[in-house]
């Protein structure tokens, strides 16, 4: 009934593995480096295919534009840097050169969320979902664990035709999604069924949501847990069903609560089946230095807080 943790791995490694495996299948896959090749998981590819790896230095705007040029020439370019820089520093290049031209460029947003830890606010990507999801033609992926990061990366490269932003983190997090579970871009995943409340989460918050569901069960609350690994295009059906059948929804993301994943879910809920919601995330503030686990506690991005917020919603009889 509950999925088990096979051991902790960073989603970054899953992405890097996915790029490597896709690189073996697609000779046109070329990788661009922005000086932080190993820390975004691309060192595996760079070692195996040195002639298909192009270092472009600390110049994210140029990286995005060069990627567009490679894609116009029939290549499958991969451009990855920290999510803060990928989504913000090169936002205009991604908007015009990549998305307006609807080019198949794979953008890796590394170090997603607070869990970068001690580096502090400048390097914690907490706005990338909000920015990337409003760009026409963009597909926005947010795998819940390393296994899923590999799978989604390979699928995105093989099956999609337009731009893709894949969001992943540095910290080792529970790897729990079975490889044989159906993972389809654009489809949410029912991780645990339940009818009293739905916890809809993205990224490694899905694991925390699952732990919160266990705590809720102790209180006699049967929670549904849904993994949304594709934030855009979002799976409306699974959200509408959850709203209709459980009447209450909690969303969880390692990201700002404004304009992010919770907002994306709320757009569906408000227009199709309005129910009470609680959006858990970083509350319109910058992050700070600290150990990843300390930060997750401080900012309420952990099972205990999800449980607490869910109980408030359950007890809210309005």
């Amino acid at each position: 009934m509950y999925l088990e943790n096979r051991g902790n791995r960073p989603t970054k490694s899953g992405f890097g593995q996915g790029i490597l495996e896709a690189g073996r299948l697609h000779p046109g896959l070329l990788v661009l480096g922005a000086d932080i090749t190993a820390s975004v998981g691309l060192d595996l590819f760079a070692r195996e295919f040195p002639d298909r790896f192009f270092s472009l230095g600390i110049a994210e705007q140029n990286c995005a534009g060069v990627a567009a040029g490679l894609a116009l020439s029939g290549k499958i370019p991969v451009f990855s840097t920290y999510g803060v820089f990928a989504a913000l520093r090169s936002a205009d290049q991604i908007r015009v050169s990549v998305c307006y031209n609807n080019l198949h460029v794979i953008i890796g947003g590394a170090h997603a969320g607070l869990s970068v830890g001690p580096d502090g606010a400048t390097h914690q990507a907490l706005e990338d979902i909000a920015i990337m999801r409003v760009l026409p033609n963009m597909t926005l992926l947010s795998p819940c664990d390393a296994t899923q990061a590999t799978l989604l990366t390979k699928k995105a490269i093989k099956d999609l035709k337009g731009p893709v932003y894949i969001r992943f983190g540095r910290e080792a997090v529970p790897d729990f999604i079975p490889e044989n579970i159906n993972t389809t871009i654009g489809k949410g995943q029912l991780i645990k069924n339940g009818n009293d409340i739905s916890i809809i989460a993205t990224g490694h918050m899905v694991w925390e949501a699952l732990q919160a569901a266990k705590m809720l069960e102790m209180k006699g609350v049967d929670a549904r847990v849904i993994n949304i690994h594709t934030i855009k295009p979002i799976d409306k059906d699974i959200i509408i069903d959850a709203a209709r059948e459980t009447k209450k929804i909690v969303t969880v993301e390692e990201h700002q609560v404004l304009g992010g994943f919770g907002s994306a879910v709320a757009e569906v809920v408000a227009q199709h089946c309005p129910v009470k919601m609680k959006i858990i995330g970083v509350k319109d503030t910058f992050g700070e230095s600290g150990q990843p686990a300390e930060l997750m506690l401080k900012y309420g991005l952990h099972a205990e807080n999800i449980f607490k917020e869910a109980m408030i919603l359950i007890n809210d009889s309005q």
Binding site: L56, G57, N62, A64, S73, P77, D92, R95, S97, N101
Partner: protein
């Protein structure tokens, strides 16, 4: 089959005249758009599309074609008039410029299906990065086609241009040629007042580029520069094309107020009558 190239200067002048005339017609029909630099670039575009580039209007996606990346999307009228002149689409379509449903968007948009458009662009400072990517792919594939990128002088104030310039020389992209439209004017006034970009040749040189300069309104000088460009080995080339904004229409030449303005129907008639 590639487009038959013209070297005869008199014929090229006539083509530039037609292109200018069509720029004025299309801008007057649209009621908005960028007249000054579009007219100023007519000779550069004539040389590129009628003498220099290998391309085929009957087969716009020909794999081995030379590519023109227009980084300054606002001079779309000169690109459109040139493409129509070369036979990519009927000249009458130029009168739909900037209108709802037109394939001739205010800034080039590939998604609207106009043949010959390589890139949707117009946010300044992006084209050179894309051109660099195309040139890098050509090198990687051991292809011989060339990539031309038309940039504005004011555009060089965008920092990302220099990221791209650095990367193109790092990868020794001698298949890449930038043409800088050096008309010394931008919306707020002269480039030296708004933000000085000189010493321009030294900037490109220090970034590892081969630098050429010419009168960008003189076909003969332009053709010499383009032929010099082809001899570059191991370095990307920039041609600083010294042009006159509004070239061809004396009444508006070198007047920055005509950067982003279209002529009225009456003005258009006067301009066409006075066209040199």
């Amino acid at each position: 089959m590639a487009f038959k190239k013209i070297q005869d200067l008199e014929s090229l002048k006539k083509i530039s005249h037609n292109i200018r005339s069509n720029i004025i017609r299309s801008l007057a029909a649209s009621g908005s758009g960028h007249t000054g630099a579009s007219l100023g670039l007519a000779d550069v575009f004539t040389c590129l599309y009628f003498s220099v580039m290998n391309h085929d209007p009957q087969n716009p996606k020909w794999e081995d074609r030379d590519r023109l990346i227009l980084s300054i999307g606002h001079v779309a009228p000169v690109l459109y008039a040139t493409l129509a002149q070369a036979g990519y689409f009927p000249q009458e379509e130029l009168l739909t410029l900037r209108k709802l449903g037109s394939r001739l968007q205010g800034h080039p948009g590939r998604d609207h299906g106009l043949p010959g458009i390589e890139l949707s662009a117009g946010s300044l400072g992006q084209g050179l990065s894309v051109a660099t990517g195309i040139a890098l792919a050509a090198k990687y594939d051991k292809k011989n086609h060339r990539i031309f990128c038309v940039m504005g002088d004011g555009e060089l104030q965008e920092g990302a241009v220099w990221e791209a310039a650095m990367s193109a020389s790092h990868y020794r992209l001698d298949n890449l040629c930038v043409i800088v439209d050096r008309n010394k004017l931008q919306i707020d006034g002269s480039t030296s007042d708004v933000m000085e970009i000189e010493p321009l040749a030294d900037k490109w040189l220090s970034f590892g580029w081969k630098v050429l300069a010419c009168n960008g309104n003189n076909h003969d000088e332009l053709l010499s520069s383009f032929s010099e460009n082809e001899k570059s080995q191991g370095r990307p080339v920039v041609i600083i094309a010294n042009t006159l904004m509004g070239k061809g229409v004396k009444a508006i030449e070198n007047n920055y107020r005509w950067h982003g303005k279209a002529p009225t129907k009456e003005e258009a008639e006067q301009f066409m009558a006075a066209l040199e």
